[in-house]
C-alpha cells in the first residue's frame, strides 16, 4: 500500500463502509482539531465513540467517553488515532486485540508511523495515514469547496444533499479524480504535532 498518496475510491470506500468510529485522543476542548472532527463526523451520521482516559465516564457531545478501546462494549469499524506517532503502535496493538477486529486504522493529519501501518495491514486491516477524515469527507462530498479548497475531484453529475440540515452534502458523489496537483501529498506538518 502506497501511503504517500491514496486514490479517491480507497478513501471513499472506507468512509462509505464504516459506521462506528472510535476516536482515540479526542479532546473536550472546543478549539482542538479532534473536537472539530468528532463533532463533524457525528453530524454526518457516524456512530462516534470518544476514547480518552482523562475524560473516561464523562459525556462528549452526548456520547459516553471510554478510557481505552477494550472498554467499548460494541463493535468498532474504524479506529481514528488523534495521538502523536510514537503512540500509534500501542494503539494498533490494542485495536488488533478487539473482537471483532476493526476494519480500518486511520492516523490523523500530520501523523505517520509505517511500522504501525505494517502491523495493521499484516492483520488484514486497511490503513490511512496523515489525513483527516473530516477533511476527506468534506473533499469527496465537495463541502470543503465552500472554503476554496482544491477537492481534486471533477464531475458533471449533480451533487447529492446529505438529506437533512443546511449546507450538508452526501459522500456518494460521482466524480473523476481531478488531482492535477501533488501538493496534497506535500502535507507537511511536524510528525509529532500531538493533537
Amino acid at each position: 500500500m502506497d501511503h504517500d498518496s491514496y486514490d479517491d475510491k480507497y478513501i471513499r470506500g472506507i468512509l462509505n463502509t464504516v459506521k462506528t468510529i472510535a476516536m482515540v485522543g479526542v479532546s473536550a476542548n472546543t478549539s482542538r482539531p479532534s473536537y472539530f472532527a468528532f463533532k463533524y463526523l457525528l453530524e454526518r451520521g457516524y456512530g462516534m465513540i470518544p476514547v480518552n482516559p482523562g475524560l473516561a465516564g464523562q459525556e462528549l457531545l452526548g456520547r459516553k467517553v471510554y478510557a481505552r478501546l477494550a472498554d467499548i462494549p460494541e463493535p468498532v469499524d474504524m479506529v481514528d488515532i488523534f495521538r502523536s506517532s510514537r503512540h500509534a503502535i500501542a494503539i494498533v496493538e490494542e485495536a488488533l486485540a478487539l473482537s471483532p477486529r476493526p476494519q480500518v486504522i486511520w492516523l490523523q493529519l500530520g501523523i505517520r508511523n509505517d511500522k504501525a501501518a505494517s502491523l495493521a495491514e499484516g492483520s488484514g486491516l486497511k490503513v490511512v495515514m496523515n489525513r483527516c477524515p473530516k477533511i476527506e469527507y468534506g473533499r469527496l462530498s465537495s463541502e470543503i469547496a465552500w472554503m476554496g479548497v482544491n477537492t481534486r475531484t471533477l464531475t458533471a453529475k449533480k451533487a447529492r444533499l446529505f438529506g437533512r440540515g443546511i449546507q450538508r452534502m452526501a459522500l456518494n458523489r460521482i466524480t473523476v479524480a481531478g488531482g492535477a496537483t501533488d501538493a496534497a501529498v506535500r502535507a507537511q506538518k511536524p510528525d509529532d504535532a500531538g493533537q
Binding site: 453529475k157 449533480k158 443546511i166 492535477a180 496537483t181
Partner: protein
C-alpha cells in the same frame, strides 16, 4: 491502479464547478446574496468557530466565488484559493498573514508599477518594509535577506512584459532563508507557467487580466501552494500560534496544507474586507473556461507582432522574450515554452512625440491602462501612467520617452499589424 489525472483544458472548464445540487443548473449560479441562513444556533456556532464547512456572509465566502477559488487553485496545482476584490487586494491579504510591523520582505525591482507604489507607500504605512532586489542579478536577493525577512515577492513574467524571472533560482534562496516565495503569475497565467512547480509557495493573481480575459471585471486571487511548513518556521503567528479571534485555534495544525488560504480568508479577508462580488466571480469564471485557447492565441499574435515590429525602420528596439536573441529568451524557453505572453514594450526612434502620435493614430488598438483583454491595447507610459516621474525615473522604470507598451488581443493578427502599420506611418 492510480486515478487518471485530467489535463489543463479539462480543469479549466470543470475544476470547482458541478451541477447545482438542488436545481440542477449546469452553469455556476450567481449566488448574489450577502448572507446565508443557519439551521440553528449550534450550526451557526460551528460555522463561526471554523468547525464545519459552509457559508456565512459573502465578505468571508460565497459559493460562486468558491468555484473560482477551486478552479484557479487546481490550474496552479495548489491546495486552495481565495478570491478577493482586486490583484492589489490579494497582495494586501496575503502579506497581512505573513507580516508584522517592522518586518521586511524582499521584492524584485521589476514589477507592475502599481505594486511598486503599493509596496513603497501603502505597505510602509503598515510597517511592512520592502527591500528591493534585482531579478537580473540573483545574488542581490540573497544579500537582501535579513533576520526580519518574512517573504520574497516576484512576478513570473514581469509587467509590462519582456522580463522573465528565474523563479527556481529565487525559490532556492527563499527555501534557504526559510521564507515563502510569493509569485505574481498574472501575465503568464498557469497555462504558460506554474510557479509552484519551480518552488513558489504562494501564487497571487490579478484576475482582471488574462484569467478573466475580457476586460469586464476587477478581481484578485491567492493560491496556497501547500508547500510551506508554517509550524517548523515558528515565525508566522497567524499560522502557527493559537488565534484569539477563534478561541485559540492553531490554523496550521487544524487545516494542514491549506492553512494559508484559510488564514487569508478568516483572518485577513474577514477583518480587512476586500471581498469580490459574486457577479464578478461569475464573469471571471466564464473567462477561465477558455483560458488555454485564449492564451495560446494571445502568445501567437504577440510573437507575430513582435517579429513584424523588429523589421520596421521607425522602431529602435523590441523587448519580447519570445524573439530569439532576446536577453530573456533562454529563460522564456524554460519557464514559458508555449509562448512569452501577450504584453511587451518597444521603442520608437522618434521618441516622446512619436509615441504620442502613435497612440493617437491607432484605430483598432484601444488607448488605455489595462492589459489582458480580448482587445489589443496600447499605452505610451511616459505621457500617461508614468507622467509624474522625472525623465531619469521614467527610464529607470522602463518607461522612457520612446517606450510604447502593447497588450496584444485576440483579433486577426493581420488586422493588428495593419493598424500598427498605419499608426506608425502617421507617426
Amino acid at each position: 491502479m492510480s486515478d487518471r489525472l485530467p489535463g489543463f483544458a479539462t480543469l479549466a472548464i470543470h475544476a470547482g464547478a458541478q451541477p447545482d445540487p438542488t436545481t440542477g443548473a449546469r452553469a455556476t449560479p450567481i449566488y448574489q446574496t450577502t448572507s446565508f441562513v443557519f439551521e440553528d444556533v449550534d450550526h451557526a456556532a460551528s460555522l463561526f468557530g471554523l468547525q464545519t464547512f459552509g457559508n456565512i456572509y459573502t465578505r468571508i465566502g460565497n459559493p460562486t466565488n468558491a468555484v473560482l477559488e477551486e478552479r484557479v487553485a487546481a490550474l496552479e496545482g495548489g491546495t486552495a484559493g481565495l478570491a478577493v476584490g482586486s490583484g492589489h487586494a490579494a497582495q494586501v491579504v496575503a502579506m497581512h498573514c505573513l507580516m508584522q510591523p517592522g518586518d521586511e520582505f524582499v521584492a524584485a525591482k521589476k514589477l507592475y508599477g502599481g505594486s511598486i507604489n503599493q509596496f513603497n507607500h501603502a505597505f510602509k504605512n503598515f510597517g511592512w518594509n520592502v527591500v528591493w532586489a534585482e531579478p537580473d542579478d540573483i545574488g542581490t536577493f540573497e544579500r537582501a535577506v535579513s533576520a526580519r525577512t518574512k517573504a520574497i515577492f516576484i512576478e513570473s513574467i514581469a509587467n509590462p512584459g519582456g522580463v522573465i524571472t528565474d523563479i527556481e533560482a529565487i525559490g532556492k534562496i527563499a527555501k534557504n532563508a526559510g521564507v515563502p516565495l510569493i509569485v505574481d503569475n498574472t501575465l503568464a497565467t498557469p497555462y504558460l507557467c506554474k510557479p509552484i512547480d519551480y518552488g513558489a509557495d504562494i501564487v497571487v493573481h490579478s484576475l482582471t487580466k488574462f484569467l478573466g480575459g475580457h476586460g469586464n471585471s476587477i478581481g484578485g486571487l491567492i493560491v496556497d501552494g501547500g508547500t510551506f511548513n508554517w509550524s517548523r518556521e515558528k515565525r508566522y503567528p497567524m499560522l502557527c500560534e493559537p488565534r484569539p479571534e477563534y478561541h485559540g485555534i492553531v490554523l496550521h495544525e487544524t487545516f494542514g496544507n491549506f492553512a494559508f488560504a484559510i488564514a487569508c480568508r478568516v483572518l485577513a479577508l474577514r477583518d480587512i474586507g476586500p471581498a469580490l462580488s459574486p457577479f464578478n466571480a461569475f464573469l471571471i469564471l466564464t473567462g477561465t473556461e477558455t483560458l488555454p485557447l485564449r492564451m495560446q492565441r494571445h502568445c501567437d499574435n504577440a510573437l507575430a507582432v513582435a517579429q513584424w515590429l523588429v523589421e520596421r525602420r521607425e522602431v529602435a528596439w523590441v523587448s519580447y522574450p519570445g524573439l530569439p536573441g532576446d536577453r530573456y529568451h533562454n529563460l522564456a524557453k524554460k519557464y514559458v515554452p508555449k509562448g512569452a505572453g501577450a504584453c511587451f514594450t518597444f521603442g520608437l526612434k522618434g521618441g516622446y512625440d512619436a509615441g504620442v502620435r502613435l497612440v493617437s493614430n491607432v484605430k483598432l488598438f484601444s488607448h488605455l491602462a489595462n492589459i489582458g483583454d480580448t482587445r489589443s491595447l496600447i499605452i505610451h507610459p511616459a505621457s500617461t501612467t508614468h507622467r509624474q516621474l522625472t525623465d531619469a525615473q521614467k527610464i529607470q522604470a522602463g518607461a522612457g520617452p520612446d517606450v510604447v507598451r502593447l497588450s496584444i488581443g485576440l483579433e486577426d493578427k493581420d488586422d493588428i499589424i495593419a493598424d500598427l502599420e498605419q499608426g506608425l506611418a502617421a507617426a
